[in-house]
Amino acid sequence: MKILARIGFWLLVAGIGLFSIFPFYYAVISSFRSGNDLFSVAYLPERLDLSNYVAVFERQPFGTNILNSIVVAASVVALSLALGITAAYAFGRIRFRGRSLLLMTILAVSMFPQVAVLSGMFELIRGFGLYNTLPGLILANLMLTLPFTVWVLTTFMRELPKEIEEAAFVDGATPWIVVRRVFLPLMMPAAVTTGLLAFIVSWNEFLFALTFTLTNERRTVPPAIALMSGSTAYELPWGTIMAASVIVTLPIIALVLVFQRKIVAGLTAGAVKG
């Protein structure tokens, strides 16, 4: 009985693992194949053909696209965290009229589907003169990342004992010093977790990036991949697309691995009082 349960458990684990990893695995395999091979089914790599990877960078300014993505995602993370932590301090610690209403509004914003705000956002971006620029994308993406950043950080801030902050005030700290020297270090795990999520959201964001950019040089990676064209109008360049997808997935995997320990700490933070 015990053995059966064990076997069942591991089968389940294997099933879930396969289900989550297979699409990426298949993308990696496909990216090494070209021509007609692509349209036959194969589960094992036959040879290491890097031509797709070369083609990605030759046929479009893919390097620029990646750089754009990095600039946008990094700025979004930095702004989200800076705004999120200061907002969390206000929401978590300062009593003011309409505080919970404001919090609910922020939550409500995150419930609008992207498409619903698309046209309004477009007018806004054009009005600011940010159409087809990276700051325009950064601004738009903040709408996606700020609500959850503020919420998660506010919740976390509320769990920090108030006495710690009061002790700092007695020690002569200003609110800004308290945020920087006391809260920021304590909130590091939460900040890393939300920052990483914000990075992923912004890195994968497609709709805004497609709508608010015009030229190839201003695009971030997701629309660039979607708009890749083959050598003729009738060819869908699967191999190149797969190669591009693999390239842009790697930074995310690397980030997650680097911050893995911090994320785990973030998810269990608050369980133990310091």
């Binding site: 006495e163 710690i164 020690d171 002569g172 010093i177």
Partner: protein, 378 residues
Amino acid sequence: MADVVLKNVRKSFGRAQVIHGVDLDIADGEFVVFVGPSGCGKSTLLRLIAGLEDVTSGDLFIGGERVNDRAPAKRGIAMVFQSYALYPHMNVYDNMAFGLELAKSSRSAIDAKVREAARMLQIESLLDRKPRELSGGQRQRVAIGRAIVRDPKVFLFDEPLSNLDAALRVQTRIEIAKLHADTRATMIYVTHDQVEAMTLADRIVVLNAGRVEQVGTPLELYHRPANLFVAGFLGSPQMNFIPCAVSRTDADGVQVQLPNGGTVTVPVSPAGVRAGETVTLGIRPDHVKVLDQGALAGRIALVEELGESHLLHVDIGRERPLTVREPGDSRHEAGQEIGLSLDGAFCHLFRESGGALPLLAPAGSPTGRPAARAINAA
């Protein structure tokens, strides 16, 4: 000079008023303890003095200066929190140095002060540890250390020992007393623990529902409680209260009739007391004597042995049994009928308003009670 003066201080949270006009005069170098039941506003009062809450109305002076609108750090105070409130991400050294660093002290001055405080509190070997690597007692020392290095004129403690075990409590209590003797700083200390209050305080402030009930030295409060609340709050086990009627008043005091017929004359000022008036007689468990025949008769409901003494809970036909404390082991058993005598010299009388009738001090004894005890013992 760092006296602390409160003038008609009030505090409301939204609609709810929790401090109702407190007047208090704490002298420089004095050790004052706030006691009172849970929720009476002890912490709030302390936090008002610290500046962590704003005074709603009234004036607060520290060292002669009005500090109502001054930031906590500018009031010359240091506070030790019940939950220690150490900075979890800093080691012990940095925890203590943080305030000095913010005050832009020089590195060498900071180092000297931190090491001096660490030596005083015997935590020199812990300076590199994080708070989570310390025991409760060690954390409390660090919290006290953090207060000491600020060289405050006024120390504020909010139940600093309540998270420690009994032995550590006694030890830390003695250390705090030593700290007071060494620094001669003004100290304000909130506690639930009567022993802490009695042993540490120069003066005790008894609070109830946001009001000051009585202020005085520990013995003053113990021997001459101003009202029923203070009498019932200080002393453990609690003072016994027996409702009775005044039968006669004269120059020796007030004679009252006990529920089952006996009378006791209590040496209190009879001014304004009428015969027939209902009063409450109060007597501490230590002062009730067990006899075969006495002013009161009752049946022992329960015997509690405490080792050095024992408690008899005596049913005297009223809903609350009378508590008697006698030294040593009990000679009695539950169910036994006994008589009790109440020595008038140790009794208190409270009028229906709750106020105590002032004691008639015997000649040559300013406080009255200790002298009365001496006479009795002789």
